[in-house]
């Protein structure tokens, strides 16, 4: 990987992603190790690791759910809006028993809000383990959670 980048620093995002791919998240120890491998200061690496929203500096569950909460999905019902209407984020919170930013006790799911996923024609949209799932309905959400819990 490092052969393809002009400087070691340029490889930092890819390197963090490799760590995350194998361990699920980037721990302090992993950051120390990477700092030694790349010859970059711990502070430089930390500033990159904490800047980018898809690098996780806390443990996450086996499945990470990113719920788009930007404007097109919001109009189509991704966030709590009006009284008596359950929206995508409410349903996920209720079904999983967690708040956005948390992981279920069994370590299966992490629920995170995210910015526009660029699939607004299918709003409301979420991303689960890298896969886009659009045109979300209550039934679709329930079915996906059940499938993932079993796998």
């Amino acid at each position: 990987m490092l052969k393809e980048v002009p400087t070691r620093q340029a490889g930092s995002v890819d390197a963090l992603k490799i760590i995350q791919k194998h361990r699920g998240w980037v721990s302090d120890e992993a950051l120390d190790d990477l700092s030694a491998v790349l010859g970059l200061s711990r502070a430089d690496l930390e500033s990159v690791a904490t800047f980018y929203s898809l690098i996780f500096r806390k443990p996450v569950g086996r499945h990470v759910i990113l719920v788009c909460d930007s404007v097109s999905c919001w109009i189509m019902g991704c966030l709590p809006r009006s009284v008596g209407e359950e929206q995508v984020m409410d349903r996920l919170q209720r079904k999983l028993g967690i708040q956005p930013g948390e992981t279920t006790e069994d370590g299966v799911f992490t629920l995170l809000p995210t910015v526009c996923l660029g699939h607004c024609e299918q709003a409301p949209v979420m991303m689960l383990d890298g896969e886009i799932i659009g045109n979300l309905t209550d039934e679709k959400i329930d079915q996906i959670l059940a499938e993932k819990r079993e796998s």
């Binding site: 393809e4 980048v5 002009p6 400087t7 620093q9 340029a10 490889g11 930092s12 995002v13 963090l16 992603k17 430089d44 500033s47 990159v48 800047f51 980018y52 929203s53 898809l54 690098i55 990113l66 909460d69 930007s70 404007v71 097109s72 919001w74 109009i75 189509m76 966030l79 809006r81 009006s82 009284v83 995210t114 910015v115 526009c116 996923l117 660029g118 699939h119 607004c120 024609e121 299918q122 709003a123 991303m127 890298g130 896969e131 886009i132």
Partner: protein, 416 residues
């Protein structure tokens, strides 16, 4: 009308691979371009009056012209293709690349020749996994036939989230493995960009126009536009319309055409109130503006922006105050924190909007909001803050009654 950018995009959006692309005349523009000098190509692109489709509308030929002084000391030279599509409501570049990846790669090869770059980076957002897979295969196909790899290298760089990575200089910082913060300009990237070397940053849709300009000429390209700007444009719509999507239309098409001819009109039970014409960072187009041509020049005349051309529709059941609050949450979260007015001001604006939306607003709050919004916009390095306050200022101007009603009624009139 004639389809230019989408002529190879089949329904269902399955990618057109290299054999089908070549069979339909693909890569002949590159062969023609190779026979031309870089100056000749840049002149044609300048004559075509192609403007940046990322939203800013800067003339592409002028950006390329800055790259013309060729100093051996200033190598390698870089092309960064901006595929970090994160503007809310915007999915046109994904639509183009996933349907016709080779049109984009041919464009990269022509731009690489014209700007004499050594390395072309496709800077793509991490969440576009399918686009990444399609591009990997398409780049390999193009390499195997010698279109890519001779004279320049093409590399795919997947980012890791954050809207700011799509800002021109933020993108360069992100590529260098740093937080995506903007750089002070000058120096412009054409003189000192990635790793201090000459760098040109172009949007995917902008580049995709180039092979057609080379093949058929600047005058033909100019004739495609219906109003003041040249070419065709990928427009789109999302929100409570019957058929949300993206369509290629002549540049200068109107909101009326977008919503009623292409998006199938509004869903049953919803009325059109207004729309942001090009992502969140634009002013609202209201009912009285439905026939204004959506191009860079026409929008400039009414002191508005075209942005990405991907419309976000506000219906009559959606609260404009709450919609603004949602957008300010986006911008506050995505601010990189570099400039104080943006870092501190946007969360403050979001908070005040939340107060107003939840019935805690006080007399004078709307004017205060407007004052702050107008102050923040011009006092930052990049255009994120300006983009953030644009829909808000526009909403206050166009839906002032809605803001005032929240304060006088101490509740959101759209709820319950």
């Amino acid at each position: 009308m004639e389809f230019v950018l989408t002529k190879n995009i089949v329904k269902g959006n399955l990618p057109t691979w290299i054999d089908a692309y070549e069979a339909n005349g693909g890569y002949s523009a590159l062969r023609r371009a190779i026979g031309m000098s870089p100056d000749e190509i840049i002149q044609v692109v300048m004559d075509s009056e192609l403007k940046g489709r990322g939203g800013a509308g800067f003339p592409t030929g002028m950006k390329w012209k800055v790259m013309t002084p060729l100093a051996e000391s200033a190598r390698p030279r870089y092309l960064c293709c901006n595929f970090d599509e994160m503007e809310p409501g915007t999915f046109k570049d994904r639509f183009l690349v996933e349907g016709d990846p080779h049109q984009f790669i041919e464009a990269i090869a022509i731009a690489a020749h014209a700007c004499q770059v050594d390395i072309a980076y496709v800077f793509i957002r991490d969440e576009y996994r399918r686009s990444q897979e399609i591009l990997q295969r398409a780049i390999a196909e193009a390499e195997s036939r010698g279109y890519v790899g001779k004279g320049f290298e093409c590399r795919l760089h997947a980012s890791a989230g954050r809207y700011m990575a799509g800002e021109e200089t933020g993108l360069i910082n992100a590529l260098e493995g740093k937080p995506a913060r903007p750089r002070s300009k000058p120096p412009y990237p054409g003189t000192s960009g990635a790793w201090g070397k000459p760098t040109v940053v172009n949007n995917v849709e902008t580049l995709s126009c180039v092979p057609h300009i080379i093949e058929r000429g600047a005058d033909w390209f100019k004739s495609l536009g219906k109003a003041k700007d040249s070419g065709t444009k990928i427009y789109g719509a999302s929100g409570r319309v019957k058929q949300p999507g993206a369509w290629e239309l002549p540049m200068g098409s109107t909101m009326r055409e977008l919503i009623w001819d292409h998006a199938g009109g509004m869903q049953d039970g919803y009325e059109f109130r207004a729309a942001l014409p090009g992502g969140a960072s634009t002013h609202f187009i209201d009912v009285s503006q439905l026939d204004i041509p959506l191009d860079f020049e026409s929008m400039k005349e009414i002191h508005q922006f075209l942005g990405t051309g991907m419309a976000i529709v506000l219906d009559d059941k959606t609260c404009p105050v709450a919609m603004c609050r949602n957008m300010e949450m986006f911008f506050a979260r995505e601010s990189c924190g570099w400039c104080t007015p943006c870092r501190e001001g946007l969360p403050w604006i979001e908070g005040l909007l939340e107060d107003i939306e939840q019935g805690r607003g006080q007399a004078g709050d709307v004017d205060l909001l407007l004052d702050q919004a107008k102050f923040i916009g011009p006092h930052t390095y990049c255009a994120l803050a300006l983009g953030a306050v644009t829909p808000l200022i526009s909403a206050i101007e166009k839906f002032r009654d809605d803001f005032d009603a929240h304060i006088s009624e101490k509740r959101c009139p759209y709820e319950g």
